[in-house]
Symmetry: D2
Subunit: 125 residues, 4 copies
């Protein structure tokens, strides 16, 4: 899989500890059966969580995913995908949050993610 930056993802909104990302649909995102593949959603969610962390702590290098837990709720039919990330907490060493994934224009969540990120020492005062 190419780095998520190559997937055409854009940031729709960036708040203080929140981020909404948009992934335009592409045919090669489909898995057999015609629904959007899980790893595409995981990659989008990971990037949304990363954006939410940076929205709080600034552009800190070496901010890394420690854990990512995804629950798949509905196999999403072909459509653009929206990821809404929100931090639970950003401390000096760890940030935790969740990401809700939707088909663009549909309010039924297709997948839910919780994630923990590691923040390098000294980055947050």
């Amino acid at each position: 899989m190419p780095f998520a930056g190559q997937m055409g993802i854009t940031v729709r909104e960036l708040g203080d500890g929140t981020a909404t990302l948009h992934l335009p649909f592409r045919d090669d995102f489909l898995r057999p059966g015609g629904t959007i593949s899980g790893p595409v959603m995981m990659g989008l969610a990971d990037l949304a969580m990363y954006a939410a962390v940076l929205s709080r702590i600034g552009l800190v290098e070496h901010t890394l995913t420690v854990t990512l837990n995804i629950t798949f709720l509905r196999p999403p039919q072909p459509a653009d995908v929206i990821a809404e990330a929100k931090l639970f907490k950003a401390g000096k060493r760890l940030a935790m949050g969740e990401v809700a994934l939707y088909r663009d224009g549909d309010s039924n969540m297709v997948a839910h993610v919780t994630s923990t990120y590691s923040i390098p020492p000294g980055a947050v005062k």
Copy 2:
């Protein structure tokens, strides 16, 4: 992200409830910083778990990932990646297992995954 089948992944070994997959390195797997991106590892792990499930229940359509929890242990330097999946249990409705990810030829695990798969009704007698 292209469907994992397009990533060049091959199956090295398939047992009864176990599967070992091999992902040949490609430059476009790298994230900024020069290590292999998380979503590449998640995609490989998901496919390895899927192979382990099918090794037990046969080629059942609509066998779907319900949950996938990944813990990143070490940012992997560029190398082929090996995924070793092993089922904890395959029942009539759910299969659970884990996947260990390694750089090829290096015994230090780079990431660990646990996952739950849903098996469609009637597929397992």
Copy 3:
């Protein structure tokens, strides 16, 4: 640990796929260091998720926890604990949701849980 029913937990609100539970503080919930022990919070969260599932599907026996993922955000000082559970989805075979844990009267989440429950065949039409 005694069954959660013995912990003095009461249901504050029960909606359609939501439940709010209240755990009165007891000294023996404390871990060394004087904060409320993790397993107490896990037990409360599991029961809150169970209540949210039953609020949707009715009193179905053999509804069982499959996965429970907890993230600890802040070690909670002694206080009553509130658990707010909300389903993401309840299908015929699985229900998924999340639980937010708070000290009573304090809006800072102390822990977050996601969980998957298994629903026995035939229980949901």
Copy 4:
């Protein structure tokens, strides 16, 4: 739930990054249906992971659970419970590992846990 130390848990083996704990059965561990309750297993697993972390880093205060993910495989019939914890990694700031839970004398795993612990700054050189 009382602190796990009050549950009668003993340490059977302590290695370098491994720990095996034993929980003697008690009637009040049972949930309705007559199997051992989930929170009892979560509490035992959390303590086993804690022991495995300390076996590697020494008796460091403020070593705290960040995440704990449990997968329930089989509702355990009444019996003593064994928890085998093994670290994946212990770094300067985080330790990650897994715990397998068994009924004493039965090789079928009843539950599996992965967990991340936070290690306070300066505790590991």
